[in-house]
Protein backbone atom coordinates (compact mmCIF):
# COMPACT_ATOMS: atom_id res chain seq x y z
CA UNK A 1 0.00 0.00 0.00
CA UNK A 2 2.86 2.35 0.80
CA UNK A 3 4.28 1.59 -2.62
CA UNK A 4 1.05 2.79 -4.23
CA UNK A 5 1.30 6.04 -2.28
CA UNK A 6 4.86 6.45 -3.45
CA UNK A 7 3.93 5.81 -7.06
CA UNK A 8 1.09 8.32 -6.82
CA UNK A 9 3.43 10.99 -5.45
CA UNK A 10 5.95 10.27 -8.19
CA UNK A 11 3.19 10.63 -10.81
CA UNK A 12 2.34 14.04 -9.36
CA UNK A 13 6.05 14.85 -9.55
CA UNK A 14 6.15 13.96 -13.24
CA UNK A 15 3.13 16.18 -13.90
CA UNK A 16 4.81 19.03 -12.02
CA UNK A 17 8.05 18.56 -13.95
CA UNK A 18 6.22 18.67 -17.28
CA UNK A 19 4.42 21.84 -16.16
CA UNK A 20 7.71 23.46 -15.11
CA UNK A 21 9.28 22.79 -18.48
CA UNK A 22 6.25 23.91 -20.47
CA UNK A 23 5.67 27.25 -18.78
CA UNK A 24 7.58 30.34 -19.83
CA UNK A 25 6.73 32.46 -16.82
CA UNK A 26 9.69 31.97 -14.50
CA UNK A 27 7.74 32.86 -11.43
CA UNK A 28 5.30 30.02 -12.06
CA UNK A 29 8.28 27.73 -12.54
CA UNK A 30 9.67 28.72 -9.13
CA UNK A 31 6.32 28.01 -7.45
CA UNK A 32 6.07 24.64 -9.14
CA UNK A 33 9.62 23.80 -8.10
CA UNK A 34 8.61 24.39 -4.51
CA UNK A 35 5.79 21.90 -5.02
CA UNK A 36 8.20 19.43 -6.66
CA UNK A 37 10.52 19.69 -3.70
CA UNK A 38 7.67 18.96 -1.26
CA UNK A 39 6.57 15.95 -3.33
CA UNK A 40 10.03 14.45 -3.50
CA UNK A 41 10.55 15.05 0.22
CA UNK A 42 7.30 13.18 0.96
CA UNK A 43 8.59 10.37 -1.21
CA UNK A 44 11.85 10.25 0.73
CA UNK A 45 9.77 10.04 3.86
CA UNK A 46 7.79 7.13 2.49
CA UNK A 47 11.09 5.37 1.79
CA UNK A 48 11.93 5.78 5.50
CA UNK A 49 14.80 8.23 4.89
CA UNK A 50 13.94 10.87 7.46
CA UNK A 51 17.17 12.89 7.53
CA UNK A 52 17.17 13.33 3.76
CA UNK A 53 13.48 14.29 3.78
CA UNK A 54 14.11 16.93 6.43
CA UNK A 55 17.04 18.40 4.53
CA UNK A 56 15.10 18.39 1.24
CA UNK A 57 12.17 20.17 2.85
CA UNK A 58 14.23 22.77 4.66
CA UNK A 59 16.56 23.57 1.78
CA UNK A 60 14.47 22.80 -1.30
CA UNK A 61 11.01 24.05 -0.44
CA UNK A 62 12.06 26.93 1.77
CA UNK A 63 15.45 28.42 1.11
CA UNK A 64 15.65 27.65 -2.62
CA UNK A 65 12.28 29.30 -3.27
CA UNK A 66 13.40 32.44 -1.43
CA UNK A 67 16.72 32.58 -3.29
CA UNK A 68 15.10 31.99 -6.68
CA UNK A 69 12.61 34.78 -5.98
CA UNK A 70 15.43 37.12 -4.96
CA UNK A 71 17.20 36.29 -8.21
CA UNK A 72 13.97 36.85 -10.18
CA UNK A 73 13.72 40.29 -8.63
CA UNK A 74 17.01 41.14 -10.32
CA UNK A 75 16.10 39.79 -13.76
CA UNK A 76 13.00 39.58 -15.86
CA UNK A 77 10.10 37.27 -15.29
CA UNK A 78 9.63 35.82 -18.74
CA UNK A 79 11.91 33.30 -20.30
CA UNK A 80 13.78 34.51 -23.35
CA UNK A 81 12.96 33.06 -26.75
CA UNK A 82 14.27 29.56 -27.08
CA UNK A 83 17.36 28.93 -29.15
CA UNK A 84 17.01 27.10 -32.41
CA UNK A 85 19.17 24.01 -31.97
CA UNK A 86 16.62 21.88 -30.16
CA UNK A 87 16.94 18.69 -32.18
CA UNK A 88 20.56 18.22 -31.16
CA UNK A 89 19.93 18.81 -27.47
CA UNK A 90 16.90 16.55 -27.50
CA UNK A 91 18.95 13.76 -29.12
CA UNK A 92 21.73 14.09 -26.55
CA UNK A 93 19.32 14.04 -23.61
CA UNK A 94 17.36 11.11 -25.03
CA UNK A 95 20.56 9.12 -25.59
CA UNK A 96 21.78 9.78 -22.05
CA UNK A 97 18.37 8.83 -20.63
CA UNK A 98 18.30 5.57 -22.60
CA UNK A 99 21.79 4.65 -21.39
CA UNK A 100 20.77 5.33 -17.78
CA UNK A 101 17.59 3.29 -18.08
CA UNK A 102 19.57 0.42 -19.61
CA UNK A 103 22.02 0.64 -16.71
CA UNK A 104 19.21 0.22 -14.19
CA UNK A 105 18.38 -3.21 -15.58
CA UNK A 106 21.43 -4.57 -13.80
CA UNK A 107 20.51 -3.14 -10.42
CA UNK A 108 19.31 -5.48 -7.71
CA UNK A 109 15.61 -5.49 -6.92
CA UNK A 110 14.48 -2.74 -4.55
CA UNK A 111 14.95 -4.00 -0.98
CA UNK A 112 16.63 -7.22 -2.07
CA UNK A 113 18.30 -8.72 1.00
CA UNK A 114 20.97 -10.41 -1.13
CA UNK A 115 22.19 -7.14 -2.69
CA UNK A 116 25.86 -6.41 -1.99
CA UNK A 117 25.11 -3.25 -0.03
CA UNK A 118 22.82 -5.16 2.29
CA UNK A 119 25.24 -8.04 2.89
CA UNK A 120 28.57 -6.26 3.34
CA UNK A 121 28.35 -2.58 4.19
CA UNK A 122 25.04 -1.97 5.93
CA UNK A 123 25.19 -4.83 8.49
CA UNK A 124 28.72 -3.75 9.49
CA UNK A 125 27.55 -0.22 10.22
CA UNK A 126 24.46 -1.43 12.05
CA UNK A 127 26.49 -3.81 14.21
CA UNK A 128 29.46 -1.62 14.94
CA UNK A 129 27.66 1.65 15.74
CA UNK A 130 26.52 0.61 19.25
CA UNK A 131 30.00 -0.72 19.93
CA UNK A 132 32.08 2.21 18.68
CA UNK A 133 29.81 5.25 18.91
CA UNK A 134 26.68 4.25 20.83
CA UNK A 135 24.19 6.72 19.43
CA UNK A 136 20.74 5.64 18.23
CA UNK A 137 20.77 7.43 14.87
CA UNK A 138 23.00 5.36 12.60
CA UNK A 139 22.72 7.91 9.79
CA UNK A 140 24.46 10.54 11.92
CA UNK A 141 27.04 7.98 12.99
CA UNK A 142 27.89 7.15 9.37
CA UNK A 143 27.81 10.79 8.29
CA UNK A 144 29.77 12.12 11.21
CA UNK A 145 32.25 9.45 12.05
CA UNK A 146 32.55 6.53 9.68
CA UNK A 147 32.39 8.75 6.58
CA UNK A 148 33.52 11.94 8.27
CA UNK A 149 35.98 12.79 5.51
CA UNK A 150 33.10 12.97 3.02
CA UNK A 151 31.25 15.38 5.26
CA UNK A 152 34.38 17.51 5.55
CA UNK A 153 34.35 17.74 1.76
CA UNK A 154 30.66 18.69 1.82
CA UNK A 155 31.28 21.49 4.29
CA UNK A 156 34.03 22.83 2.09
CA UNK A 157 31.73 22.63 -0.95
CA UNK A 158 29.13 24.72 0.88
CA UNK A 159 31.86 27.15 1.92
CA UNK A 160 33.14 27.43 -1.66
CA UNK A 161 29.63 27.98 -2.99
CA UNK A 162 29.11 30.82 -0.54
CA UNK A 163 32.43 32.42 -1.41
CA UNK A 164 31.65 32.06 -5.12
CA UNK A 165 28.29 33.79 -4.84
CA UNK A 166 29.79 36.57 -2.74
CA UNK A 167 32.50 37.11 -5.35
CA UNK A 168 29.90 37.39 -8.08
CA UNK A 169 27.40 39.57 -6.28
CA UNK A 170 29.45 41.43 -3.74
CA UNK A 171 28.64 41.79 -0.08
CA UNK A 172 27.99 44.66 2.26
CA UNK A 173 26.47 46.84 -0.44
CA UNK A 174 24.51 49.57 1.29
CA UNK A 175 20.81 49.73 0.46
CA UNK A 176 20.20 52.27 -2.23
CA UNK A 177 17.31 53.48 -4.21
CA UNK A 178 14.07 52.84 -2.35
CA UNK A 179 13.42 55.61 0.18
CA UNK A 180 12.70 54.49 3.67
CA UNK A 181 9.18 55.84 3.80
CA UNK A 182 8.09 53.72 0.90
CA UNK A 183 9.50 50.59 2.48
CA UNK A 184 7.63 51.21 5.68
CA UNK A 185 4.43 52.32 4.03
CA UNK A 186 3.48 48.91 2.70
CA UNK A 187 4.04 47.27 6.05
CA UNK A 188 0.95 48.93 7.44
CA UNK A 189 -1.16 46.47 5.51
CA UNK A 190 0.99 43.65 6.78
CA UNK A 191 0.65 44.20 10.49
CA UNK A 192 -0.73 40.73 11.13
CA UNK A 193 2.18 38.82 9.57
CA UNK A 194 4.59 41.08 11.44
CA UNK A 195 3.03 40.41 14.82
CA UNK A 196 2.63 36.69 14.24
CA UNK A 197 6.16 36.47 12.84
CA UNK A 198 7.63 38.22 15.85
CA UNK A 199 5.93 35.75 18.17
CA UNK A 200 7.09 32.76 16.14
CA UNK A 201 10.72 33.60 15.32
CA UNK A 202 12.10 32.73 18.80
CA UNK A 203 10.35 29.36 18.66
CA UNK A 204 11.69 28.66 15.19
CA UNK A 205 15.20 29.44 16.42
CA UNK A 206 14.64 27.17 19.40
CA UNK A 207 13.42 24.42 17.10
CA UNK A 208 16.50 24.88 14.93
CA UNK A 209 18.74 24.41 17.95
CA UNK A 210 16.71 21.36 18.96
CA UNK A 211 17.19 19.81 15.51
CA UNK A 212 20.92 20.57 15.69
CA UNK A 213 21.56 18.84 18.97
CA UNK A 214 18.97 16.11 18.59
CA UNK A 215 20.68 14.84 15.45
CA UNK A 216 22.28 12.01 17.36
CA UNK A 217 18.96 10.60 18.53
CA UNK A 218 16.52 11.30 15.75
CA UNK A 219 16.35 12.91 12.34
CA UNK A 220 18.34 16.07 12.36
CA UNK A 221 21.87 17.30 12.33
CA UNK A 222 23.87 20.23 11.12
CA UNK A 223 22.55 20.73 7.58
CA UNK A 224 18.90 20.74 8.55
CA UNK A 225 19.45 22.92 11.60
CA UNK A 226 21.48 25.44 9.62
CA UNK A 227 18.72 25.71 7.05
CA UNK A 228 16.01 26.16 9.69
CA UNK A 229 17.94 28.84 11.60
CA UNK A 230 18.71 30.64 8.33
CA UNK A 231 15.01 30.47 7.45
CA UNK A 232 14.13 32.10 10.78
CA UNK A 233 16.53 34.99 10.16
CA UNK A 234 15.25 35.32 6.59
CA UNK A 235 11.71 35.57 7.98
CA UNK A 236 12.92 38.34 10.26
CA UNK A 237 14.50 40.13 7.30
CA UNK A 238 11.31 39.79 5.27
CA UNK A 239 9.09 41.18 8.00
CA UNK A 240 11.24 43.86 9.54
CA UNK A 241 13.29 44.98 6.57
CA UNK A 242 16.84 44.47 5.40
CA UNK A 243 18.36 47.21 7.56
CA UNK A 244 17.20 45.74 10.84
CA UNK A 245 18.21 42.24 9.84
CA UNK A 246 21.68 43.51 8.97
CA UNK A 247 21.93 45.40 12.22
CA UNK A 248 21.01 42.25 14.14
CA UNK A 249 23.49 40.04 12.29
CA UNK A 250 26.01 42.22 10.49
CA UNK A 251 27.90 41.14 7.40
CA UNK A 252 31.14 40.71 9.34
CA UNK A 253 29.51 38.25 11.74
CA UNK A 254 28.07 36.26 8.83
CA UNK A 255 31.44 36.08 7.09
CA UNK A 256 32.96 35.02 10.38
CA UNK A 257 30.39 32.23 10.68
CA UNK A 258 31.08 31.11 7.10
CA UNK A 259 34.78 30.81 7.89
CA UNK A 260 34.42 29.45 11.39
CA UNK A 261 32.48 26.33 10.43
CA UNK A 262 35.10 24.61 8.25
CA UNK A 263 37.76 25.89 10.65
CA UNK A 264 36.06 24.06 13.53
CA UNK A 265 35.71 20.92 11.50
CA UNK A 266 39.32 20.97 10.40
CA UNK A 267 40.46 21.78 13.93
CA UNK A 268 38.70 18.69 15.27
CA UNK A 269 40.48 16.65 12.59
CA UNK A 270 43.86 18.11 13.41
CA UNK A 271 43.19 17.66 17.13
CA UNK A 272 42.92 13.97 16.36
CA UNK A 273 46.45 14.00 14.98
CA UNK A 274 47.81 16.14 17.81
CA UNK A 275 46.38 13.84 20.45
CA UNK A 276 47.93 10.78 18.90
CA UNK A 277 45.42 9.29 16.49
CA UNK A 278 44.68 9.77 12.79
CA UNK A 279 43.07 12.74 11.06
CA UNK A 280 39.38 12.95 12.07
CA UNK A 281 39.82 10.12 14.57
CA UNK A 282 37.54 11.14 17.41
CA UNK A 283 38.34 8.28 19.76
CA UNK A 284 41.38 10.08 21.13
CA UNK A 285 39.43 13.23 22.04
CA UNK A 286 38.63 11.93 25.50
CA UNK A 287 39.64 9.11 27.82
CA UNK A 288 36.71 6.91 26.86
CA UNK A 289 36.80 6.26 23.07
CA UNK A 290 33.00 6.13 22.84
CA UNK A 291 32.65 9.46 24.63
CA UNK A 292 35.34 10.83 22.37
CA UNK A 293 33.36 9.77 19.29
CA UNK A 294 30.20 11.41 20.60
CA UNK A 295 32.07 14.61 21.44
CA UNK A 296 33.64 14.65 18.01
CA UNK A 297 30.31 14.21 16.25
CA UNK A 298 28.79 16.99 18.37
CA UNK A 299 31.58 19.39 17.44
CA UNK A 300 31.57 18.69 13.74
CA UNK A 301 27.77 18.93 13.53
CA UNK A 302 28.09 22.34 15.17
CA UNK A 303 30.64 23.27 12.53
CA UNK A 304 28.32 22.11 9.74
CA UNK A 305 25.34 24.02 11.16
CA UNK A 306 27.32 27.22 11.56
CA UNK A 307 28.64 27.00 8.00
CA UNK A 308 25.24 26.36 6.44
CA UNK A 309 23.61 29.21 8.38
CA UNK A 310 26.34 31.67 7.46
CA UNK A 311 26.42 30.74 3.78
CA UNK A 312 22.64 30.78 3.28
CA UNK A 313 22.26 34.13 5.03
CA UNK A 314 25.20 35.68 3.15
CA UNK A 315 23.74 34.59 -0.18
CA UNK A 316 20.32 35.93 0.78
CA UNK A 317 21.70 39.31 1.83
CA UNK A 318 23.85 39.50 -1.30
CA UNK A 319 20.77 39.04 -3.50
CA UNK A 320 18.51 41.26 -1.46
CA UNK A 321 20.97 44.12 -1.21
CA UNK A 322 21.43 44.19 -4.98
CA UNK A 323 17.75 44.31 -5.68
CA UNK A 324 16.95 47.58 -4.04
Amino acid sequence: MIVIFGIFLLTLLVITAIAIVRTDNLFVAVMLMGIASLLIASNFFLLDAADVALTEAAVGAGISTVLFLSALALTSERERAKSSNRILSFTVVAAAALILIYATFDKPRFGDPEAPVQTHVAPWYLEKTPEYIDIPNVVTAVLGSFRGYDTLGEVFVVFTAGIGVLFLLGSGVPLGSLPREKINEGLRHHLIPRVVGRVLIPFILLFGLYVQFHGEYGPGGGFQAGAIIAAAIILFALLEGERRALSVLPERVLLGLVAFGPLLYGAVGVAGIVLGGNFLDYSVLSDDPVKGQQLGILLIEAGVGVTVTGVLLSIFHAFAARGR
Binding site: I35, F45, L46, L54, A61, P193, F207, G218
Partner: protein, 93 residues
Amino acid sequence: MYYVVTIATLVTMGLALIRAVLGPSVYDRVLAVNMIGTKTVLLLSVIAFLYGRPDFLDLALAYALINFIGVLAVLEFFRNRALRRSTERDEGT
Protein backbone atom coordinates in the same frame (compact mmCIF):
# COMPACT_ATOMS: atom_id res chain seq x y z
CA MET B 1 -7.21 3.01 10.09
CA TYR B 2 -4.91 5.57 8.59
CA TYR B 3 -5.39 4.58 4.98
CA VAL B 4 -8.56 6.59 4.41
CA VAL B 5 -6.96 9.81 5.61
CA THR B 6 -3.82 9.16 3.58
CA ILE B 7 -5.77 8.56 0.40
CA ALA B 8 -7.91 11.66 0.98
CA THR B 9 -4.83 13.80 1.59
CA LEU B 10 -3.05 12.47 -1.48
CA VAL B 11 -6.07 13.12 -3.70
CA THR B 12 -6.33 16.66 -2.33
CA MET B 13 -2.66 17.23 -3.11
CA GLY B 14 -3.38 16.14 -6.65
CA LEU B 15 -6.34 18.54 -6.90
CA ALA B 16 -4.23 21.40 -5.54
CA LEU B 17 -1.54 20.57 -8.10
CA ILE B 18 -4.13 20.92 -10.87
CA ARG B 19 -5.02 24.30 -9.42
CA ALA B 20 -1.36 25.29 -9.39
CA VAL B 21 -0.95 24.33 -13.04
CA LEU B 22 -4.25 25.84 -14.18
CA GLY B 23 -4.66 28.88 -11.95
CA PRO B 24 -4.96 31.93 -14.12
CA SER B 25 -3.37 34.36 -11.69
CA VAL B 26 -0.22 33.96 -9.66
CA TYR B 27 -2.16 34.19 -6.40
CA ASP B 28 -4.04 31.01 -7.28
CA ARG B 29 -0.70 29.26 -7.61
CA VAL B 30 0.55 30.63 -4.29
CA LEU B 31 -2.65 29.38 -2.69
CA ALA B 32 -2.11 25.95 -4.22
CA VAL B 33 1.50 25.78 -2.96
CA ASN B 34 0.38 26.73 0.53
CA MET B 35 -2.31 24.06 0.43
CA ILE B 36 0.13 21.38 -0.70
CA GLY B 37 2.47 22.42 2.07
CA THR B 38 -0.09 22.05 4.84
CA LYS B 39 -1.39 18.79 3.35
CA THR B 40 2.19 17.49 3.38
CA VAL B 41 2.34 18.24 7.10
CA LEU B 42 -0.83 16.19 7.66
CA LEU B 43 0.43 13.41 5.40
CA LEU B 44 3.70 13.19 7.30
CA SER B 45 1.99 13.10 10.68
CA VAL B 46 -0.35 10.32 9.59
CA ILE B 47 2.35 8.24 7.90
CA ALA B 48 4.67 8.68 10.87
CA PHE B 49 2.05 6.90 12.95
CA LEU B 50 1.31 4.45 10.16
CA TYR B 51 4.93 3.38 10.30
CA GLY B 52 4.92 3.31 14.07
CA ARG B 53 7.74 5.89 14.21
CA PRO B 54 6.37 8.85 16.15
CA ASP B 55 9.79 10.42 16.44
CA PHE B 56 9.44 11.49 12.81
CA LEU B 57 7.07 14.26 13.84
CA ASP B 58 9.98 16.71 13.84
CA LEU B 59 9.78 16.66 10.06
CA ALA B 60 6.13 17.67 10.09
CA LEU B 61 6.91 20.62 12.35
CA ALA B 62 9.81 21.69 10.15
CA TYR B 63 7.61 21.50 7.03
CA ALA B 64 4.98 23.67 8.67
CA LEU B 65 7.62 26.33 9.43
CA ILE B 66 9.13 26.22 5.97
CA ASN B 67 5.74 26.45 4.27
CA PHE B 68 4.83 29.55 6.25
CA ILE B 69 8.15 31.25 5.53
CA GLY B 70 7.90 30.37 1.84
CA VAL B 71 4.45 31.94 1.42
CA LEU B 72 5.51 35.13 3.20
CA ALA B 73 8.64 35.33 1.03
CA VAL B 74 6.53 35.09 -2.12
CA LEU B 75 4.19 37.84 -0.98
CA GLU B 76 7.11 40.05 0.01
CA PHE B 77 8.50 39.54 -3.50
CA PHE B 78 5.23 40.80 -4.95
CA ARG B 79 5.10 43.79 -2.69
CA ASN B 80 8.65 44.79 -3.60
CA ARG B 81 7.97 44.33 -7.27
CA ALA B 82 4.87 46.53 -7.10
CA LEU B 83 6.79 49.16 -5.13
CA ARG B 84 9.67 49.12 -7.55
CA ARG B 85 7.38 49.45 -10.55
CA SER B 86 5.49 52.34 -9.00
CA THR B 87 8.78 54.05 -8.12
CA GLU B 88 10.04 53.66 -11.67
CA ARG B 89 6.80 55.04 -13.00
CA ASP B 90 6.98 58.02 -10.65
CA GLU B 91 10.59 58.73 -11.57
CA GLY B 92 9.95 58.28 -15.26
CA THR B 93 7.21 60.90 -15.44
